[in-house]
Symmetry: C2
DNA sequence: CCGTCTATGTCCAACTAGTGAACTCTAAGC
DNA sequence: GCTTAGAGTTCACTAGTTGGACATAGACGG
């Protein structure tokens, strides 16, 4: 069964091919599947029957455009995936199906002082609430994607140092949640998930290489290379927030000086405006004021943009992505921040690398990470979990 | 024949599997092939027969250890690949076979004033000389890898601006050489090929992610991600030489200021020593003097190392490779330059990314690029050229 | 309203390719 | 000399894809 290179593995690959084609297009007729996958009509016929029997796919006898085409689409309840995202102040949960449809989504404020167990309790409750609300079958849950705002150690799966709260350091979020929900949980940091979210549903659609830059309390980047998250051998790729811009700049929480983060992250930038604009400013507030014309806020945002642009220029020289997507609250500032970023990139990156680059704001706002968590669950389960169930379901029918 | 998902494609994949297993191990018995590939003994038997008939593989009736095992190895003359490398002052050619053995290698000085056609003439001659010297069959040449010291435009295949000589700009080296030699030529820049060379034969063996930093007249990096050269969507990834270290630093040939290159490349560094050490210094000379204890040269090399280290730290934060290999003449300085690099990396990179990083000197010296060109020819042809010939050769035997 | 046309989906026979089991072969060990 | 164990081969079987024949049903033209 598990032998690579056997015909059954080929069959499996073909099943995946069909499922993927259907998923990408949303709905296809068998003839279209045959054309896009390159498989013969006969093979497609067999595979579709098998998938239909397994419940993965629905065949609607559509009498749509023409003669007698039956539209094949992923059946909505074939499998459910869940995305959970712990933010600095929010907890977000989304429920989706294998057809890449988001069935429900909800967020609630997360108390900054909450301990890790409390956080997981809240997450579990919210997940349960959404499951009930959408009325999906719990046994259909194929996987959960989990986003945490901090580095995850690949080997141990534990949360590293620069996380939101000291109390969460060393916890193993995936294990924790898996224990509560009883389904496989895959975890990654918020920047990577944001990248994945924008790639699948947002500003990164249609691109294979993408850098998602998230500016919030810290600055991080999620890198997508050839359609996959790139984490690096040690799992800490994308730490754009700690590239050095000024060797004698402000001391950063990482211990170095003049990191990009010290010029762009909320915790370092907001204090600049405290004396003039009061102490309880938020990034959102600054953005709102800037849009309304406040010159101080505009200036600060532009400066942040320029610094981010320097970092992006480095990224651009090294990796040459075709698209950079800006996420986080700051992205709401639109051209006020994107303009300076582009200007900086144009100045500091080599022209051949900068020429093809497009810098866009994220299209999903704060939802990027939850949706990315959904996408993670989908991609981590491969299509294989789905297909396994198909095979198992189909097997009795043949004996 | 070209349909994906068909049995023939499966068969092809299995052929490749076997060839790869044999190549990696050098020599295997059929039973061992079966174990490592996961294929059944019967299948292996068939595949080996097919490959043997096609001439790709040799079966030596070894009466080695035990009962009756026949060692299967790639036949040395099944296919020949050639690597050609144009350096700033050298032309290097290597001839190898599919078993990853280098059969011959030769270099000669290349006149810096040579025009592009002269250069290609010389390359053609040298290739012919080596082919004769090794006595290989010209018809067995499966492909040629070509290295050029400048950026290659992916679409047009023409040489970009920052190349060695103005006269070469706009030429299409691959076409040029392909026309003369009559076999497929694949071209890439020297940094990428150096990375590939070190990956396959040098300091990068056994690693999947590698950054090769070449310091010469310019500074460039070749990035290997998941075992493959990463060029980026625009083909200009790895331009580590032009990340900005000091916004008000020296003006760089790229138009920006304070690029890493202005602190590390020969053309900017050698003048520093001119007043004290004379005008006709070379990097090699500086390295030699430094090893003999010359304090000025040591200082300059250490400074270069520190600056390179800053760039590597950025690279490390963004990409988190597990290994960085230093190439070019400067690598000969060994610890004199590696020490400061490591120190800088330790200072400017975030600890979790720096921890697992090893910084090594290249093991191949000036040969890295030619050998990389060989590897490029091997990888570009995939195993498929090889397998095609097998299939074609085998086909008549069946009819 | 009816025949023709065309694209869809299904069925069947042919073919490709991998697999387990039985078999042969060789050298080592007792 | 006999046994044994691992290596490689052969053969019958099975899984799975494919091309072609066939049935179907709407569109189009008369």
């Amino acid at each position: 069964m598990e032998t690579p290179g056997s015909q059954s593995s080929l069959h499996r690959a073909n099943l995946e091919r069909v499922v993927r084609a259907v998923r990408l297009a949303g709905s296809l007729t068998q003839a279209e599947i045959a054309r896009t996958t390159g498989l013969s009509a006969a093979t497609v016929s067999n595979i579709v029957r098998e998938l239909k029997d397994g419940g993965t796919v629905e065949v609607t006898p559509t009498s749509a455009g023409g003669r007698r085409a039956r539209a094949v689409s992923l059946s909505g309840d074939a499998g459910i995936v869940i995305g959970v995202d712990f933010g600095h102040t929010h907890l977000r949960v989304a429920v989706g199906n294998l057809a890449h449809q988001v069935l429900a989504e909800e967020s609630e404020p997360l108390d900054v002082d909450a301990s890790a167990p409390q956080g997981f309790d809240r997450a579990e409750q919210l997940v349960n609430r959404l499951i009930e609300a959408t009325g999906v079958d719990r046994t259909k849950i194929a996987g959960v994607g989990l986003g945490v705002p901090g580095p995850i150690d690949l080997e141990s799966g534990s949360l590293g140092s620069s996380a939101i709260l000291p109390g969460w350091i060393g916890t193993k979020p995936a294990e924790e949640l898996q224990g509560r929900l009883g389904v496989p949980v895959h975890v990654d940091n918020d920047a990577n998930l944001g990248a994945l979210g924008e790639l699948v549903w947002g500003s990164g659609r249609g691109v294979r290489d993408l850098a998602y830059i998230k500016v919030a309390s810290g600055v991080g980047a999620g890198l997508v290379i050839s359609g996959k998250i790139y984490r690096g051998p040690g799992g800490t790729a994308g730490e754009i927030g700690h590239i050095t811009l000024d060797e004698s700049g402000p001391v950063c929480r990482c211990g170095n000086r003049g990191c990009l983060e010290t010029f762009a992250a909320a915790r370092y930038v907001l204090p600049l405006l405290q004396s003039s604009h009061g102490t309880d400013l938020t990034v959102e507030g600054v953005v709102r004021l800037a849009r309304d014309g406040d010159p101080g806020c505009r200036r600060v945002i532009a400066d942040v943009g320029r610094h981010i642009g320097s970092g992006v220029a480095n990224l651009c020289n090294l990796l040459n992505p075709s698209r950079v997507v800006l996420g986080g609250d700051l992205a709401e500032a639109g051209e006020l921040v994107l303009g300076p970023i582009r200007e900086s990139v144009g100045r500091y990156a080599i022209p051949s690398a900068a020429r093809q680059l497009s810098v866009l704001p994220g299209a999903l706002g704060g939802r990027a990470e939850v949706l990315g968590a959904l996408a993670l669950a989908l991609s981590e389960m491969g299509d294989s979990t789905l297909l396994d169930s198909t095979l198992h379901a189909a097997a009795p029918a043949f004996t």
